[in-house]
Amino acid sequence: MQTLKNSLFYILLFLIYPIISSGQSKVKHIQQIFVPHSYYKEYYTKTDSLGYKIKDKDTLIHVSSFIKPKGVGVPYEFKDDTFLEVYKPIAFQSTEKKNSDSEPMKYWKEEIKIYFTPNISKRVKKEFLRFTKTIDKNVDSLKVRNVKNIENANYIIYTNNDFEYEENLKSMSSGGYYINWNRKNQIIKGHIKLNTKNLFSDLVQIQKAKELFILSLGWFKPSNTLDCTSYFSNCFSDKKVMSSLDWEILKYHYSYGICKGTKISQFEEQHKRGKKSMKNPHNKFVIYHHY
């Protein structure tokens, strides 16, 4: 529970125990509210405690009423294991250390404001924006638009003939992307560089730019197991399309029905609890996102 707290999100588990008073014809439901100890310490005083219980090694405090934190609660989004087995290796980059947890997943919280340098051809720009428009339209919580002034941008698409906006992309032979994130694992800046010496035509520049852009939406790790036509695959195809699975991956990544910025262990723990909670129809499993 402590690790989840560190990610600044709280998972609140409402345990509702129907108590049936035998011998009476009328069934009476009594709601008992338990909150995690860490949450209790933050939002309650000592006099609020009505008792406690230990559940799965966590201490839960019995309280009379629930104090909502500042933020928004979103119902947990269930996904089956087959989908999650595809999603996890894409969303969670492994660390360099053996047997350690993954790197935290990354996501854009702010709107992506793209600036194209004048060396990006009109055709590339037009086709690219057509692509990002579908993303903007189809994925909740992910907004993308074009800006004409570089000072308003948080995403720059440039070529080898431009100023080197991102030093880490200096030696790219074809093209590459680079993103920066903050301590909350929110991506705050992005760059795509196209080396037009090798990507010499609009056709190949468009293909490359789209591929890189998708990966930059979450520091995604391209998958070896997906068909090459998928934008999340590790191989090239001139027939790449956002398949239904691609959309599902992206929408899920930006769904607030799961915790954001977590490592894989936290993500898995969250699902374990979510699934367990769903077994009882009286339970609600809510992901709370702080303002």
């Binding site: 990507l199 010499f200 035509s201």
Partner: protein, 274 residues
């Protein structure tokens, strides 16, 4: 280092049914990484590669009728893996163009050369390999142009004279992480080539080599594009056609190294007998 190669017939998801129990590897890794593949090769107890060996009945029939030839298969291993016995260069994977090749000629290439080049390669009919030409550079993914660079820098090749196929011509391809090319530039220094008849033959040879990262070979006939003494034949030789058909028999989900290729061929040959 002793290399141990164990070929395992693998049923999808049945990770526990290995006949060679001494091989250790992560089952979870296997399941997660290769679940859509159906053939595996384990090398040195820890490296496992997988590929999908499925081919259609027509592809199998084509192989059995036209490509199941010892000489061709030996030549293929030689020019793709530079390695007849699969004992060295294990890191070498076959390379393919997974997308249609759309060629654009820079205006600096003489028109007659362009015309003859197009005529030659337009006649090639290979399943899974499409070559087309465009007059719009922006719609192309393969550029053929002249250069003033001296190619290559290697003195040993320069000394072999301008007729040597690697002299004064080179290519640079962009590829993905799966040994598939998606863009390329073929450059030739036409100014330094004294015998202008070599321009066409050099372009044809280098273009052909780039279709599969083939190497030139001493033992092929002179009408082969892989010959050091290529006679600039007007038609693709049967040998070259067979190599190309074998190389593009299937666009491989994962690139084949020499051992994979051997297994792939053994599979096919067993089906020829049915």
């Amino acid at each position: 280092m002793t290399r141990i190669f164990i070929f395992i017939t693998y049923l999808l998801f049945s990770v526990s049914s290995f006949s060679q129990t001494k091989i250790s590897y992560s089952k979870e890794k296997l399941k997660g990484s290769y679940k859509w593949l159906d053939r595996y090769v384990v090398i040195d107890n820890d490296t496992m590669y997988g590929y999908n060996s499925s081919l259609s009945q027509n592809e199998i029939k084509y192989f059995c009728d036209n490509l199941n030839d010892k000489k061709i298969l030996r030549l293929y291993k030689d020019v793709v893996y530079n390695n007849l016995d699969c004992g060295k260069y294990e890191h070498v994977n076959s390379k393919q163009w997974a997308s249609e090749i759309i060629v654009y000629f820079d205006k600096s290439i003489p028109k007659k050369i362009q015309k003859d080049f197009k005529k030659f390669f337009s006649t090639i009919k290979v399943e899974n390999l499409k070559i087309n030409f465009t007059r719009n550079k922006e719609k192309s993914n393969y550029l053929i142009k002249t250069t003033e660079d001296i190619i290559p820098d290697l003195e040993t090749i320069k000394e072999k004279g301008e007729a040597h196929p690697y002299n004064l011509v080179t290519y640079n391809f962009m590829g993905d992480n799966n040994s598939k090319f998606y863009s390329g530039i073929l450059r030739i220094n036409t100014k330094l080539i004294k015998d202008k008849s070599l321009i066409l033959s050099k372009l044809k040879q280098m273009f052909f080599v780039g279709l599969g990262q083939f190497t030139f070979d001493k033992d092929v006939k002179e009408n082969s594009l892989l010959s050091y003494k290529y006679n600039n034949s007007e038609v693709l030789s049967n040998e070259d056609a067979a190599l190309l058909n074998l190389h593009y028999l299937k666009i491989q989900d994962t690139p084949l190294n020499c051992h994979f290729f051997s297994t792939f061929i053994k599979d096919l040959q067993s089906k020829c007998k049915l």
